[in-house]
């Protein structure tokens, strides 16, 4: 087990390198010159050459990547061509916003999905089950941004501005800058709609999955045995059935991470949040090479680490699964 974890942790490095390298090459094959937006329309070719040299953009792509990597190892994530700010600083400012959004949306998803999935399975083919499955079907079919729009219509416009439609207030203790809006209540107000928008779709997917796997597990012999030996319904469901039914659910949660990153970008865009998602999409569209690399690095790392955590969760949920 220990060697397995070690092997997987070591594997993170080449995967992250590969993703960042592919992104590096892809971004540089985007047609057009990235120094043009910096110089404006009235620039001379000499100016452009100077700027390219200053940022090392005149070198071959592979050399540029190695230089980027070399600096990265020393803790230098590069400096944005367009804003002139160090990339690492921007990433650190924006990371807490996105982390809070994603963690809370997963909490929303689990808080809805676990009870809904269990009830759907235990009361199969009753009105409770039909409600759970129909609502889940609807939830699976609505894109995050439309849920966000509906929430906006309800809470920001319909109910006379209960919740702010955009912006951000930091949680006390997470303010990464010298000055920023900090307030617990303000933070809750700002994060509520985005977390719901991102969480509801996930909840729907997990509910469907959990219900299906609970239905399977509940018919197995060990559940019958547990009931036969006189265990109360609660431990049978929560300890014996749920734990095993969670295995496929966790797999899908891992697979959902790729979608969650896209979802975070969309939800942050809709609610104008200063998170990593908006940072990433602005950098990609504006072709800010250094910022894109920073975004790709964080995203790739998070993606790989979460996939590893998911794999390791299996051994906890189902001790029969062992990694050599």
């Amino acid at each position: 087990m220990r060697t397995y974890i070690l092997k997987r942790v070591i594997e993170i490095v080449p995967t992250v390198l590969m993703i960042t390298f592919v992104v590096f090459v892809m971004m540089r094959s985007v047609p057009g010159d990235p120094v043009v937006p910096l110089l404006g329309d009235a620039y001379t070719e000499e100016d452009a050459i100077k700027v390219r040299q200053a940022y090392g953009l005149d070198k071959p792509v592979l050399v540029q990547y190695v230089i980027w990597l070399g600096k990265l190892v020393q803790g230098d994530w590069g400096t944005s061509i367009l804003s002139g700010r160090p990339v690492l600083q921007d990433v650190l400012v924006r990371l807490p916003v996105t982390l809070e959004l994603i963690v809370l949306s997963m909490v929303v998803a689990l808080v809805i999905a676990i009870p809904a999935g269990i009830i759907g399975a235990l009361r199969q083919n009753t009105w409770a089950d039909y409600t759970a499955t129909s609502v889940a079907m609807i939830g699976v079919s609505i894109p995050e941004f439309f849920i966000g729009v509906l929430l906006l219509l309800l809470f920001s416009i319909g109910l006379g501005g209960w919740l702010p439609s955009s912006g951000w207030v930091y949680l006390p203790g997470t303010c990464p800058m010298m000055v920023c809006g900090v307030s617990l209540w303000g933070n809750v107000q700002h994060v509520l709609m985005p977390a719901l928008a991102l969480g509801v779709g996930r909840a729907a997917i997990l509910t469907r999955l959990l219900r299906t796997s609970m239905l399977e597990v509940i018919r197995t012999e060990y559940v019958t045995t547990a009931r036969a030996k006189g265990l109360a319904e609660r431990p049978v469901v929560l300890k014996h059935a749920l734990k095993n039914a969670l295995v496929p659910t966790v797999t899908v949660m891992g697979l959902q991470v790729g979608f969650l990153i896209g979802g975070a970008i969309v939800v942050e865009t809709l609610f104008a949040m200063p998170g990593l998602g908006t940072f990433g999409i602005d950098a990609i569209i504006g072709r800010d090479y250094q910022q894109v690399q920073g975004f790709a690095l964080v995203t790739a790392f998070a993606f790989v680490v979460i996939n590893l955590v998911v794999d390791l969760t299996y051994t906890f949920l189902d001790p029969r699964i062992r990694y050599a």
Binding site: T15, M18, I19, V22, V23, M26, M27, S29, V30, P31, M137, I138, V140, S141, I142, P143, E144, F145, F146, V149, L150, L152, L153, I157, G158, S165, T212, V257, G258, F259, I261, G262, G263, I265, V266, T269, L270, G280, I281, I284, I285, R287, A296, T299, A300, F303, V304
Partner: protein
């Protein structure tokens, strides 16, 4: 049931008496044969009300997209500066947007982009991914390693990161070319799904006796692959494709929402939703319709796909 006739017992065990006489075996007539798995599946499918609702939605949307020019009361791209932000009325049932374009006509025409990208991106991924998966699974060894490493490379990416960067690389444009670019970007991120799915099925199917029998008979590889292996992995392929269309439509709408889909003036629901959200405070109704259109379309394909899955492969349930 074949007719049974007690044989004259001349020696042998008494249990033989229960056996039908050889001469009396009547092969079941063609009509009495048990249903084929496909027919059984279809029967199960027809019994599911939700699946039929899904089919109805999908058929309706296909008709709307085919006859968009006839159904739309006005041009989806003709702007009219005198009639901007009009509330829903008899004249324009869903109102008009910031350029005075008729929202109903835009929603109707948006069906085309959504369905075209959703369906063709999945089909493109299918036609590339399935052969890769079949070859990798069937031949194994170095071919398998090579193909699956390439697929892992794509899968190593969070799908939206890859799709977004691909779209920036392709530079989003309007019209047919723009639509093809979005289709290609979504297809690329979906290829590995098919390759892995088919490879897995092929790995189990190729160990079956009937494949061994084919080999023993000297049947050529490509014949075995297309006549015997492929038909046996069709059920999961069909289910993945139908549900995949739903996902692709969401991805297309998301890319469009981020400004990376088919560009205006081509009507696209994601783009319209984003454009209308900017005016949500004063014109709340505008953002509803493109969103509802996306929702109904995705719901249709999801219900259809769920029904197919339950019907074609009860084990997948």
């Amino acid at each position: 049931m074949p007719e049974t006739k007690i044989r004259d017992i001349s020696g042998g065990s008494t249990s033989e008496a229960d056996l039908p006489s050889v001469t009396a075996v009547v092969w079941p007539a063609r009509a009495e044969r048990s249903e084929s798995p496909l027919a059984q599946g279809l029967r199960r499918f027809r019994r599911s009300a939700t699946a039929l609702v899904g089919v109805a939605i999908v058929v309706a949307l296909v008709l709307v997209s085919l006859f968009a020019d006839v159904l739309a009361p006005r041009s989806p791209i003709a702007s009219d500066q005198r009639h901007t932000f009009e509330r829903p009325s008899w004249d324009s049932p869903l109102g008009t947007d910031q350029l005075g374009r008729d929202m109903l006509s835009r929603v109707i025409h948006g069906t085309r982009i959504s369905l075209a990208v959703g369906v063709s991106s999945v089909l493109l991924a299918l036609f590339v991914g399935v052969p890769f998966g079949m070859i990798a699974g069937f031949y194994g060894g170095r071919v398998d390693t090579l193909v699956m490493r390439a697929m892992d490379l794509i899968l190593a990416f969070p799908i939206y990161l890859l799709a977004i960067i691909l779209m920036v690389m392709f530079t989003p444009t309007a019209g047919l070319i723009g639509t093809i670019k979005v289709t290609a970007a979504i297809a690329i991120v979906r290829i590995p799904i098919y390759a892995r799915l088919v490879r897995g099925s092929v790995l189990s199917i190729k160990e079956k006796e009937y494949i061994e029998a084919c080999r023993a008979l000297g049947v050529r590889d490509h014949w075995i692959l297309f006549r015997h292996v492929l038909p046996n992995c069709l059920a999961p392929i069909i289910v993945t494709t139908t549900l995949g269309i739903a996902t692709s439509i969401i991805v297309e709408a998301t890319l469009s929402f981020l400004g990376l889909g088919t560009q205006p003036p081509t009507p696209s629901w994601g783009w319209d939703l984003k454009a209308n959200v900017a005016f949500i405070q004063a014109n709340a109704w505008l953002s509803l319709f493109p969103g509802l259109a996306i929702f109904v379309t995705v719901l249709g394909f999801n219900l259809f796909g769920d029904g197919l899955r339950d019907a074609l492969d009860p084990r997948l349930k």
